[in-house]
């Protein structure tokens, strides 16, 4: 009985403290809500330091969005469509930005934040819509080619020079090893397809700004066919391992860490993760820019990351943009990289000594970001992405003769509203 009473009293105290905490917001300082994607606490830290730097001009509170990008988009789109005034600052996944910008859900970026000098090209492209910056790049992600030095050496590959997909497939095949790629029916598959098509000199979407019924896809091209050939070969030759049809980024990393690991394309989060899980692999670990499709054309590594937008219905858009300016400062980006492993979009942050000490591949990441090919920037990205996933999955069923055409027909029918997705 006594214990129960104590528990009740304790719970009441916690609730009361929470309520009082909420009441203390009534000190006249405007509170900005920053909807953040889950991370290791870095955004909350930046929110606290920017609140302090604002010196009473505003206070930033963070609110957590769901874990995966698609669910983040769903929640933000639903709230914005309902004119939610609490959406002051939003951490946005780049491919979904045009969809939110087109109906006017995002407040215009002020002139002082339009300057994109020193920001990596991929991030600027992904933050824009209709040739105009509609969000501000915060951190920019890119995939690298991670490899086991021993495997590359045994295959006689000079990893200081650009390598092609054919070369790494051959190297893995010759040594009975497996490649870490993402073949699951998920956004990661679209990322892979886009990088392959772009590196082959093609485009998934010819004119991203076209109306849905006028859109033209570029999959039925040499680049599209070559992309299908690579995915189909990895899928049907067991090069991606038995887990390939359900492999996401974590599964690829686990495969790479295992006995059959050789090469892997993945985001930089794998570096700190492997340091903890498989230090012996880190000793044998090398990294390079994403593989090329043709030896003669440059690679087009996937780019991702997070850009910051301000909700059009926010009551404090001016203050929100001031806060955004503080959040994306090169110092904050460098600190975020060091503490959370998310690479900066501002090149100046790569000069930070701590960044280079903690991430020896920082310069490769910066180089990769400059080469990066964003996914198609269109309000109908979701349809295109899911349409690609549906038709390029499972990887062992992908063939250059049929997949690009089936995919094109299906996606265009979906865009015209004639097919379900």
């Amino acid at each position: 009985m006594r214990t129960t009473k104590r528990i009740v009293a304790g719970a009441s105290a916690v609730v009361l403290a929470g309520t009082l905490g909420a009441c203390s917001a009534g000190d006249g300082v405007p509170t900005l809500t920053w909807y953040i994607n889950p991370d290791d606490g870095g955004q909350a830290e930046i929110a606290a330091s920017c609140t302090e730097a604002a010196d009473g001009a505003y206070r930033i509170e963070t609110s957590l969005l769901p874990r995966d990008a698609a669910s983040q988009r769903e929640q933000l789109a639903r709230r914005l469509a309902a004119s939610d005034r609490s959406l002051d600052i939003m951490s946005l996944d780049p491919p979904f930005i045009p969809e939110l910008a087109e109906p006017g859900f995002l407040a215009p970026v002020p002139d002082e934040l339009q300057d994109t000098d020193g920001i990596v090209e991929g991030a600027v492209q992904s933050a824009s819509w209709n040739g105009e910056l509609v969000t501000v790049p915060f951190w920019a992600n890119t995939q690298l080619l991670w490899y086991r030095k021993s495997v590359a050496e045994a295959a006689g590959l000079d990893m200081t020079q650009p390598v092609t997909w054919d070369q790494i497939m051959q190297a893995a095949e010759d040594q009975n090893k497996q490649l870490g790629v993402q073949g699951a029916l998920a956004e990661s598959l679209t990322v892979w397809i886009n990088a392959l098509v772009a590196s082959g000199g093609g485009k998934i979407l010819e004119d991203p700004e076209a109306k849905p019924d006028e859109m033209q896809l570029g999959l039925e091209s040499d680049a599209g066919k070559k992309a299908a050939e690579i995915i189909g070969r990895i899928g049907s030759s067991n090069l991606g391992g038995p887990g390939l049809p359900t492999a996401d980024e974590n599964a690829s990393m686990n495969l790479f860490q295992g006995d059959n690991g050789s090469f892997m394309v993945n985001w930089p989060f794998v570096y700190p993760a492997m340091q903890g899980a498989a230090p012996e692999v880190v000793e044998d670990l090398g990294w390079a820019v994403y593989p090329r499709v043709d030896a003669g054309t440059p690679a087009a590594p996937p780019v991702g990351g997070i850009n910051l937008g301000v909700g059009a219905y926010s009551e404090h858009t001016d203050l929100a943009w001031q806060a955004v300016k503080c959040i994306v400062s090169p110092e904050n980006q460098a600190r975020y990289f060091v503490t959370n492993g998310n690479p900066p979009s501002n090149l100046a942050a790569y000069d930070d000594a701590e960044v280079n000490e903690k991430f020896p591949m920082a310069s490769t990441i910066a180089e990769s970001l400059q080469l990066g090919a964003p996914r198609p920037q269109t309000p109908y990205y979701n349809e295109i992405s899911i349409g690609l996933q549906r038709t390029w999955h499972p990887p062992n069923a992908v063939t250059p003769d049929t997949t690009p055409q089936t995919s094109t027909d299906f996606i265009l029918a979906v865009l015209r509203g004639e097919r379900l997705l």
Binding site: A70, E74, A77, R78, A81, E99, L100, E102, P103, F105, A184, L185, A186, P242, G243, L244, P245, T246, A247, D248, N250, A251, N254, P379, N382, E383, I386, H393, P394, G417, E418, R419, L420, L421
Partner: protein, 313 residues
């Protein structure tokens, strides 16, 4: 109040006043609940019906257009819808059949278990039903998923010809097997609970009479027990069929619809929540709702026949 006490007032009218007051009180007490029920059940259905007549995308509010029944035309003419319908019906039929057989076995165990063990047997059998579907879906996913160290393959490695590298979630057949397995594991207790109540209603003297007449155990089951619990079986099958037809959690967690495992409810979810296509998604939801109504209608009609047949015998 004073008017009631007037001597000239007719008793009949007074009663009517009282009846009216009681009716008013009744409405005041039940009205809010009635209103809320209307609001939470009828309103969304009507709203979905209305929305399904529009081409409406949440992120393109200005392009909203009234298109009559074109959404239904697109859905009913799309192989993806029929594929989902096929998968949903397959899962429904297989799970309900398996659950009925296993559930009846469990019900017999619970019914016949000696008194000392009865409590334990009932608790043990009912445990899975107490677990939230999403949780059991995750448990099955991690048990079978080879990318996150699923252990089932190593358990089954003794079976000749079994490939230890089998990726259960890479093919339609194996994915559906795991989905059905998890569904059966989770909800068999529900069916067995309903069947247990049916078993308890079978008159013991009928069974004894049959045995005295020389009937074997199988004959007693077929001729005496099963016919006497027909109503309980029908209720169990109806409830489970309706529930199985709306399957969502297991598929969402395990395959997210990959390898043609997308059930109708997942298709509705992906269209209205994932794609934000409110019009098209509402139309799928309406079709799902109609399917459930049809199933319920068929069963209720079946009920009537069975119930009267039971009475006649």
């Amino acid at each position: 109040m004073r008017a009631d006490k007037e001597p000239g007032a007719k008793p009949k009218k007074r009663r009517s006043d009282r009846a009216r007051a009681e009716a008013r009180l009744g409405w005041m007490l039940a009205g809010p609940a009635f209103g809320i029920m209307l609001l939470v059940t009828l309103y969304p259905i009507v709203q979905a019906l209305w929305d399904s007549l529009f081409s409406l995308r949440l992120t393109a509010p200005d392009d909203r257009e009234f298109i009559w029944f074109r959404n239904y035309q697109v859905i009913l003419g799309d192989p993806a819808f029929w594929q989902s319908m096929g998968v949903t019906l397959f899962i429904t039929v297989v799970t309900v059949l398996l659950e009925l057989i296993i559930g009846f076995g469990f019900a017999l165990v619970m019914h016949r278990a000696i008194k000392k063990l009865r409590g334990f047997a009932r608790t043990a059998i009912l445990v899975p039903y107490g677990i939230i579907t999403v949780v059991s879906a995750f448990a099955f996913f991690y048990a079978f998923d080879i990318n996150s160290g699923g252990y089932v393959n190593s358990w089954l490695s003794w079976i000749p010809g079994f490939d230890e590298n089998l990726n259960w979630f890479a093919y339609q057949g194996t994915s559906l097997t795991v989905i059905i397995l998890s569904e059966v594991w989770k909800t068999t207790p529900f069916i067995s609970l309903l069947l247990l109540s049916g078993l308890a209603q079978v008159p013991g003297d009928l069974e004894e009479a049959a045995k005295v007449d020389g009937a074997t155990g199988w004959e007693v089951l077929r001729r005496v027990i099963l016919p006497n619990m027909k109503a309980a079986i029908m209720v169990a099958v109806l409830f489970r069929t309706l529930e199985a037809f709306r399957i969502f959690d297991n598929i969402f967690i395990m395959t997210a619809g990959a390898n043609d495992t997308e059930a109708l409810s997942l298709l509705a979810y992906n269209t209205s929540i994932g794609r934000l296509e409110i019009g098209l998604g509402s139309a799928i939801s309406v079709l799902l709702f109609l399917s459930v109504l049809i199933i319920a209608g068929i069963f209720i009609k079946g009920f009537k026949v069975d119930l009267s047949a039971g009475r006649n015998s």
